[in-house]
Amino acid sequence: MDVVVVVQDAMVTPASGDALARVYREQGAKLWRSLLAYTGDREMASDAMAEALAQALGRGDAVQSPERWVWRAAFRIAAGELRNRSRHVQISSMDSTPYEMPEPAVDLIRALARLSPNQRAVAVLHLYADYRTRDVARILGISQTTVRVHLSQARRRLRMLLEDEDG
């Protein structure tokens, strides 16, 4: 299954719970908003983040770098969900207009939705979450060169899309 992140020699102990609580406390808001920007869907963002944290809790000490692991798992889970959703007609999601979101954020998310998933992920992780391209590459499991290519394309496309709206 493409949404499961495999960690070698994982143990089912909750020893990393403190570290995960800290990741949630310090990174939770940034991660959730990044996932929202990536998926365009509050529900999917919450589900991916919760699933990633729950998986990390289950892996315990096997997770050596909780922050990077959770970001990586959450984006992979969200990517899997996006692929699943694109194959189905979904009624419930059509009623999922967010109750509240600033209009500029809605505009940004609409613009992001017109990028490819990889361009979108790279743009969100670098331009919003502030990860260096090396770390973006690690989170997404792609090469740094590929990150730079996607980033360049994403920047160009976003400027065009957002300028259109400004105009």
């Binding site: 909750p14 990044s34 009624i91 059509m94 979101m101």
Partner: protein, 368 residues
């Protein structure tokens, strides 16, 4: 134009829900698809809960959330002194945004089925709460609904607590605790309420005062919109058939949790079931409105939703079974409006002006 990083900074203004509660619901996940031994699971869950108990208060505070049960409105209090006028006999209650802004508060409102002004019934939104999913009690004297802090919402309806209030908006009482309930539905005798819990993971029944809560089903993917049959023997609901499927269908189940059956088939999602007053038919939504017999036979669509219409949903029957009120999503999904469909003629008339967000209409029953 502004630097792209600056454009992304607007995301910092989006409210973040309390996902840690959802993590607790999931529990620690083992590294493979296999579940660990029960003893390990229990130990892991206990430690995780301890961690959560220690960390959640700080975590929620740091995220700007306010989802602890203690922050809920106090049960038994009354709303603001400026209570709305008593709704008329043909009042249709629904949830709506209080203004045209996308981040407007959501409140319970009513509009007469015969036409007239939309009247807001709650004012909780001013305090940062969202009130939605209103349902008339069978005698038309009370309204059950869901209320939640804005920051808690993660689903289209949003988990919250179930409340009930008098038809005139007074005597609001909280029936559940934990901010994990949604989509209430009264039993036909008014003694019980069915609802879903933990983001649709379980179908639950409780007494109308909130006591005696018990799960009747938890095996499917995402329970939503229970609706009690008029004779009280069945509950229709919307769910995906299993946890790995996203397409939803209409199911029926007995209130004791037995005889769970699927009524709709096919690849298109179906949802929002509503029993006709005599229990012989079920209206539902699958892109447009459909009606089928209560055994699933003779399904046929009764509205035609074409652009700029994108979605007809949330049907509710008139007490005389002659009409359906429903929500139509228009303008590419940017606006909604309540409509009434006269079943004899197929005529559709708009009941409200364009509203940024509207949902869950329910027609006031005739007093028994």
């Amino acid at each position: 134009m502004a630097d792209l990083r600056h454009r992304f900074a607007v995301l910092d203004r989006v409210d973040v829900p309390d996902v840690w509660q959802q993590v607790n619901d999931l529990g620690p996940r083992p590294p493979s698809e296999e579940r660990p031994p029960t003893a390990t699971r229990i130990a892991v869950a206990i430690v995780a809960l301890l961690i959560a108990a220690a960390g959640i208060a700080l975590a929620v505070r740091s995220l700007g959330g306010s989802s602890s049960p203690s922050s809920s409105p106090t049960p038994g209090r009354t709303p603001s002194p400026s209570s709305p006028p008593t709704p008329p006999a043909d009042a249709i209650v629904f949830a709506r945004s209080a203004s045209d802004s996308l981040d407007a508060r959501i409140e319970i409102a009513y509009v007469p089925a015969g036409g007239g002004d939309v009247v807001l019934m709650t004012t909780e939104g001013k305090q940062g709460w969202v009130a939605a999913e209103p349902r008339w009690s069978p005698d038309g004297s009370r309204i059950a609904f869901v209320m939640s802090p804005r920051s808690h919402l993660t689903r289209f309806a949003g988990d919250g607590d179930i409340y009930a209030m008098n038809a005139d908006g007074t005597d609001i009482r909280r029936l559940t605790e934990g901010l994990n309930a949604s989509t209430p539905a009264w039993s036909p005798d008014g003694s019980q309420i069915a609802f879903v819990r933990n983001q649709g993971r379980a179908l639950v029944i409780m007494d109308a005062d909130g006591s005696n809560q018990h799960v009747i089903a938890r095996d499917r993917g995402y329970y939503q919109w229970p609706a009690w049959s008029p004779n009280g023997r069945l509950i229709a609901y919307q769910s995906s058939p299993d946890k790995n499927t996203e397409v939803t269908a209409i199911f029926i189940i007995q209130p004791d949790g037995t005889d769970d059956r699927r009524l709709t088939s096919g690849s298109a999602s179906a949802g929002f079931p509503a029993w006709s007053p005599d229990g012989s038919r079920i209206a539902y939504s699958s892109g447009q409105l459909w009606i089928m017999n209560s055994d699933g036979s003779n399904a046929h669509h009764v509205t035609n939703c074409r652009l700029p219409c994108v979605f007809d949903f949330a049907p509710a029957w008139s007490p005389d079974a002659g009409a359906l009120v429903f929500v139509r999503q228009e303008d590419g999904g940017r606006a909604r409006r309540l409509y009434i469909l006269e079943l004899a003629t197929g005529a559709v008339r708009s009941l409200t002006p364009e509203i940024r967000w509207a949902g869950s209409p329910d027609w006031r029953p005739e007093p028994g």
